[in-house]
């Protein structure tokens, strides 16, 4: 018990260190010079308050620099010669960039064009080569070229190396069309390709005639296809009343086709010719306009032969009953297309 109440200070009592207590920094001794007053002066305080006012703040931060900038630019541009210098400099710079070697077009290559089209295309180019590619408006050139009838399609592009390349697809003429203005070459779609001076220029192409025939070239080509054995005798197709076709054969014979299904009607006529050798006889017109009731118009010789056999007076070349004794003229007038139609004369 005596150890618990130990009088006086013992060694181990003194040796225990004081508890570690986290303490803050001891205040620093004051420096020799007087400290600066931390309070803002009245002027600084007021200026700070003005700076915090939104209107002043906006004016000072946006308005003033903006005004200064506008002022400097305005003063600089007030002089006419400076403005001209500035715009001239800009133009020169643009010019310099556009006429760089990389942007220059030197040659023009044209593929798939006939010499006439080639020449026309070169004449249409608005600039003389070499020129800058910025000066060549390809889409405008294309619309201009497309106005040429002979050209169906054109691909224009500027290839690297300064080449303006044009790939031309020309229209191929498929028909000759004779109309009031002359003879024209048409392609399969009915578009004009070129004009022709005479039929003999392209004897290999079939011929169509009449107003509005160009709009039905597909039908006309189908009819030529269907003509078959009579093709060597075929002179052409004639559009009648912008409505239907007449097939015109070499000695003035005609096959009048209906408005609808003309190809079938022509095939029927060809069938008649095959079976009865119809077109070799003296038949002026085969009228197939009414599909249920085909009609024939006989030639003058055939009519007169029939009339002779019946003991009737013969017809003259004008279609009237001639005086007996005019046989000679009546026999020669077989070509006339204005003979009176007798129907029904013969059925196929």
């Amino acid at each position: 018990m005596q150890e618990l109440t130990r009088p006086g200070r013992s060694a181990d009592w003194r040796g225990r260190p004081p508890p570690a207590r986290p303490v803050g920094a001891r205040p620093q001794p004051r420096a020799g010079t007087a400290r600066r007053d931390p309070a803002p002066s009245r002027l600084a305080y007021r200026l700070h308050r003005i700076w915090l006012t939104p209107v002043y703040r906006r004016v000072l931060r946006v308005g003033l620099p903006g005004f200064a900038l506008a002022m400097v630019v305005g003063l600089y541009l007030a002089d006419e010669s400076r403005r001209a210098e500035l715009s001239g400099g800009v133009t020169a710079m643009i010019e310099k960039i556009q006429t760089r070697d990389e942007f220059m077009v030197r040659t023009m290559t044209i593929e798939g064009a006939s010499p006439v089209v080639d020449k026309g295309l070169r004449a249409m180019l608005p600039v003389t080569l070499p020129a800058s590619s910025f000066d060549i408006d390809l889409s405008a050139l294309r619309t201009q070229v497309m106005k040429l009838d002979a050209v169906e399609k054109i691909e224009l592009r500027i290839r690297p190396g300064g080449i303006l390349s044009a790939v031309v697809t020309e229209r191929t003429p498929a028909l000759l069309w004779r109309h009031a203005g002359g003879i024209e070459l048409l392609d399969a779609g009915g578009h004009r390709v070129a004009s022709a001076t005479a039929r003999d220029v392209r004897p290999d192409l079939p011929m169509i005639a009449g107003e509005g025939a160009a709009a039905h070239t597909v039908e006309a080509l189908a009819l030529f296809e269907a003509a078959g054995p009579i093709l060597p005798r075929l002179r052409g197709l004639q559009r009648m009343g912008e409505r239907r076709w007449d097939v015109v054969l070499d000695d003035g014979q005609r096959i009048m086709l209906p408005e609808r299904r003309p190809v079938q009607a022509l095939e029927e006529a060809v069938g008649l010719h095959r079976r009865h050798d119809l077109l070799s006889r003296d038949v002026a017109v085969i009228d197939l306009r009414n599909g249920d009731r085909p009609a024939l118009r006989l030639g003058l010789t055939a009519q007169n032969t029939l009339r002779r056999a019946r003991g009737k007076p013969e017809l003259g070349p004008d279609g009237r009953v001639s005086e007996p004794g005019d046989d000679k003229t009546a026999g020669a007038a077989g070509q006339g297309g204005s003979g009176q139609t007798t129907r029904p004369a013969e059925t196929g």
Binding site: P18, D37, H48
Partner: protein
């Protein structure tokens, strides 16, 4: 009385204007520190339920956007001693808070801890002519309070109606539309020294700021540190500041008493300076870092180097034990608490239903104060931290900033004061003129 009424009404108008602009500053002018907070009022409903922000005791309609604290200058015992020095300190703290907030503030609500506050209970009674209490009856009964002689140069800082009674039905918070014959009111008036208040107004004016309200530091500290139940059931707030220890007693959510003891933490520092013969800065450091109230055996062994720069080696290498420090601090703290006890006894605090005591202010951070205060003041003692408000920095949540936070609450939700009601027209001339005007209007 009428001048004061007009002045306070003007300040209320200023506060309303500041609320409309959305920015107001609160300025706690203490003896040892000055703090300023810039509040922004966004209106209610800036938070939804799912944001995790609760109603925050109804304080969610504003937030702190800038706060600053600086050492106070030119202040003694909670009053302005040197005007120019105080003005500089106000400029420093307002400028720093403005800079942090990024906005300019023009309206400021200030609080004052000293200036010898005195508390008065006033009573008034009027007959109700219409048999029903109307709005103007409330104003009339407030004006009918028998005002005692406050003394020369005293200004009324707060005049809050605490209790209304109609025909013996007492304890009414809002007497309007109650039926009865007689309306009586109990009002609590707090007066301060008029010169000190005038100095404060002048100082704020010098800083290009408009004063939108003045409050007692003891009152606003109580509003921040006392929780709602303590304010309702009865509690006292002891705001232990640097120069002044403020006492305010709350019951039924109204302040019924306020007083101040002209002793505070700076007195403790002064005692340490004298007792240990050290500079004031070192004494302050010793107090805040090593100070305490309850000495234990271990404190005898904890030696603190005091230091010094006199050039005398023996003097500069002195050490003091923590027990010595506590031996100096404890009697002074005891004396302060004894004075507080006297004030509470004078106020009749022992008759309150709930005798909760909340210690707040910078002085309440002395370790072991709770035990000492419980021995002197009563059993229900706790250290009060200010209410949490939106945007408050961590450094401002210490008990030392209770008055600042309370001032923010006061700015957001001021309690009804006498000057919030229309003063009835008393003078005969105005009344007869108005009657003449009415007669003209009715007949032509």
């Amino acid at each position: 009385m009428r001048d004061l009424y007009q002045g306070q009404r003007a300040m209320r108008q200023m506060r309303r204007a500041a609320m409309a602009r959305g920015v107001i500053a609160v300025l706690d002018i203490g003896t040892s520190k000055m703090s300023c907070m810039v509040l922004q009022f966004d209106g209610p409903g800036q938070f939804r339920e799912e944001d995790g922000v609760g109603p925050m005791a109804g304080q969610s309609n504003f937030r702190v956007i800038g706060a600053a604290t600086t050492q106070s200058r030119g202040m003694r015992f909670g009053e302005i001693g040197t005007m120019a020095e105080t003005e500089r300190a106000v400029r420093t703290v307002v400028s720093a808070a403005q800079k942090r907030a990024g906005v300019r503030v023009d309206h400021v609500i200030a609080c004052l801890s000293g200036a010898r506050p005195a508390s008065y209970g006033l009573a008034g009674e009027i007959p109700l002519a219409s048999g029903k209490c109307a709005e103007h009856d409330v104003a009339a009964v407030l004006a009918a309070c028998n005002v005692p002689d406050f003394g020369r140069g005293r200004e009324v800082l707060h005049a809050q109606p605490v209790n209304f009674a109609i025909d013996g039905r007492s304890g009414l918070a809002d007497p309007r539309d109650h039926v009865g014959n007689r309306l009586s009111v109990d009002m609590h008036a707090l007066t301060i020294d008029g010169d000190a208040a005038g100095n404060l107004v002048h100082c704020i004016r010098r800083c290009d700021l408009e004063l939108a309200g003045v409050a007692s530091a003891a009152y606003v500290a109580g509003r921040a540190a006392l929780v709602e139940d303590e304010q309702e059931l009865g509690g006292a707030c002891i705001d232990m500041g640097g120069g002044v220890t403020g006492v305010s007693i709350f019951v039924k959510k109204h302040m019924i008493f306020a007083d101040a003891v002209r002793m505070g933490g700076e007195l403790v520092t002064q005692d340490i300076t004298r007792g240990l013969r050290v500079p004031t800065t070192v004494a302050e450091w010793l107090k805040t870092r090593h100070g305490g109230i309850e000495a234990t055996g271990r404190d005898d062994r904890e030696m603190i180097e005091v230091g010094g720069e006199t050039g005398d080696w023996e003097h500069d290498r002195r050490t003091v034990s923590r027990a010595d420090l506590i031996g100096i601090m404890r009697p002074r703290v005891e004396e302060i608490l004894d004075e507080v006890r006297v004030v509470l006894d004078a106020a009749g605090f022992e008759h309150m239903p709930s005798r909760q005591i909340v210690l707040t202010g910078g002085g309440s951070q002395i370790p072991g104060l709770e035990t000492l205060a419980a021995r002197i003041l009563g059993q229900n003692v706790r250290i009060g931290r200010p209410l949490r408000i939106n945007g408050l920095a961590q450094e401002m949540t210490t008990p030392g900033h209770a008055a600042t936070v309370g001032l923010a609450l006061f700015a957001a939700h001021p309690q009804d004061e006498w000057w919030d009601f229309e003063m009835p027209l008393e003078s005969h001339g105005v009344r007869s003129l108005r009657r003449a005007v009415r007669w003209f209007r009715a007949n032509w």
